[in-house]
Amino acid sequence: MFNAKVKDKIATGIIYTLSGIIVIILASLLLYILGSGLRYVNWDFLTSTSSDFSKGSGVGVQLFNSFYLLVISMLISIPISVSSGIYLSEYAGKSKIVNVIRISIEVLSSLPSIVVGLFGFLVFVIYFHMGFSILSGALTLTVFNLPILTRSVEDSLKAVPGSQREAGLSLGLSKWETVIHVIIPSALPGIITGMVLGAGRIFGEAAALIYTAGQSAPPLEFSNFNIFSPTNPLNLMRPAETLAVHIWKVNSEGLVANADQVSAGSSAILIIAVLIFNLLARYIGNKVYKKITGGE
């Protein structure tokens, strides 16, 4: 029927078309989100408090909650993931137990976020009586984020050439000292990149939070310094609806008069945040790498 050359041309044409369609879909998706959302984003929208019913509500509290939850959960997950990354890359050999550890990490990373959220709801919110709070949310996000961070730390450590380890050991350093003083500094760009990308991922997470950090955002008073007061922004035990949860809530409950505007604006903010996290990851990675290697 067709000879090989004609077939080649046809196939190439099809590939070009399909790839073109993808580019169009993806590009119009980004442009649509930014185009329809950015006009609602202004200083007032970013700082004023939200309202469940009336028009003209902002997302100030939600934005603060998102960042605060991000910081708290990174504070918990960084030490855990760095140490288990060190263990897996430097100490773990190839044994049955190590295999079990690896499989558990893989299973944890593929669990649906709603299942992780329900686990957090059951354990942190109900059994540990933390209620819908920043703490429950941050712990749940930690569960959700740990496998990815651990794997990225392990990969960055493994990418450090073996000669660096040998050099450290031959100077009389113990293995632990070699890891702390030689391996970690040279793996730092990769580790930081992984952390920033992980941060971007949990910034937009909603399914794991609706039953842990809660779906309400009581107004905050930034002049309140009593850490136990529910209006204190830093209180760990207050419920905290994040930006991503807010988008879901205004759309599924349909009580807010200008739900479309609020969610378009919030979506644009989320996308820009993801963009910033991506660029930041690249930039910091390069910068730290240059500083450590002394290269220009």
């Binding site: 593929s110 669990l111 329900l118």
Partner: protein, 306 residues
């Protein structure tokens, strides 16, 4: 008099103590992760099996019946709980999304690795990386404002339903599958291509008969990974599927998935009640499916190593 030399020789050095401490710390934090995974599986399994043990629901009925009325008792005194509509809904949206996404993902990956690596690397790669990171609620919101009205115009009905859900999931898993397929194609050794081209094969013959075939396990892993993501996605689907606990009769009839039912109802039910236990058994199905996807991926990866 204290013998300092003797002391330093017989006692463990500071460095050795530090070494042990470091090893113990790093091992115990790793153990935390393993304990977490075991407790997640344990808790969800314990909660999810209550409906069968305590309320006496027949697991077979649970999987095949289509009526979900946890507060009504049937003739035998057991609550009427049939999860078939949700299970079917979940599988249908996942399969549709994967079927639409796969050709696009493979085409884009072939374009990026085999045809124009420079242009692909410069534009397609960063865009796809960025899209992997877009939060799922944003996809849901776009689905609600763009896809649902479009489906409503074209196919009729309210626009909410399996078709909209599948389309939103398609866009959501497309970047994931594409970037994993690119990795799979890149892992095919260069000399495979050179050998094929040297035999006089065209680019398409090389791609279809050598590269894609050698990369099949990797591509399958990518597709299954995308499906497991689609199966477990909650909010984006919940926003566009219509949330009616009915068997999907057409592509545009409002229906529901396991995740959407969990999202909608978990907050409205009292812990320990029959309807709550029933919801946890849906979570158990989700967990089991995720374990199955995981096992399949691992089996494929084991067979396809170069």
């Amino acid at each position: 008099m204290k013998d300092t030399i003797r002391e330093s020789l017989t006692q463990r050095s500071k460095s050795a103590k530090l070494e042990t401490r470091g090893k113990i710390i790093s091992l115990s934090f790793t153990a935390v992760i393993v304990i977490l995974v075991i407790s997640i599986i344990g808790f969800v399994a314990a909660k999810g099996s209550l409906i069968f043990i305590k309320d006496g629901v027949n697991p077979f009925d649970f999987l095949t019946h289509t009526t979900w009325k946890p507060n009504t008792l049937d003739a035998n005194g057991h609550p009427i709980i049939g999860a078939a509509p949700m299970i079917v809904g979940s599988f249908v949206v996942t399969l549709f999304a994967a079927i639409i996404a796969t050709p696009f993902a493979i085409a884009a990956a072939v374009y990026m690795t085999e045809i124009s690596s420079k242009w692909g690397k410069k534009i397609l790669q960063p865009v796809i990386e960025l899209l992997v990171g877009i939060p799922s609620v944003v996809y849901g919101f776009i689905g609600l404002t763009v896809v649902v009205p479009f489906v409503k115009d074209v196919a009729g009905g309210s626009g909410l339903g399996v078709l909209s859900g599948a389309f939103v999931l398609f866009v959501m898993i497309l970047p994931t599958i594409t970037s994993m397929t690119v990795d799979a194609l890149k892992a095919v050794p260069r000399n495979y291509r050179e050998a094929s081209l040297a035999l006089g094969a065209t680019r398409w013959q090389t791609t279809s008969k050598v590269v894609l075939r050698a990369a099949t396990p990797g591509i399958l892993t990518a597709i299954i990974f995308g499906m497991s993501r689609a199966f477990g996605e909650a909010l984006a689907v919940q926003m566009v599927i219509g949330n009616a606990m009915l068997m999907p009769t057409s592509l545009v009839s409002p229906s529901s998935t396991l995740t959407s039912v969990l999202t909608m109802n978990m907050g409205n039910s009292v812990q320990g009640s029959t309807s709550n236990n029933a919801l946890w058994s849906l979570a158990l199905i989700l967990l089991l499916m995720s374990l199955i996807f995981n096992t399949v991926t691992r089996a494929i990866a084991k067979r396809g190593e170069f």
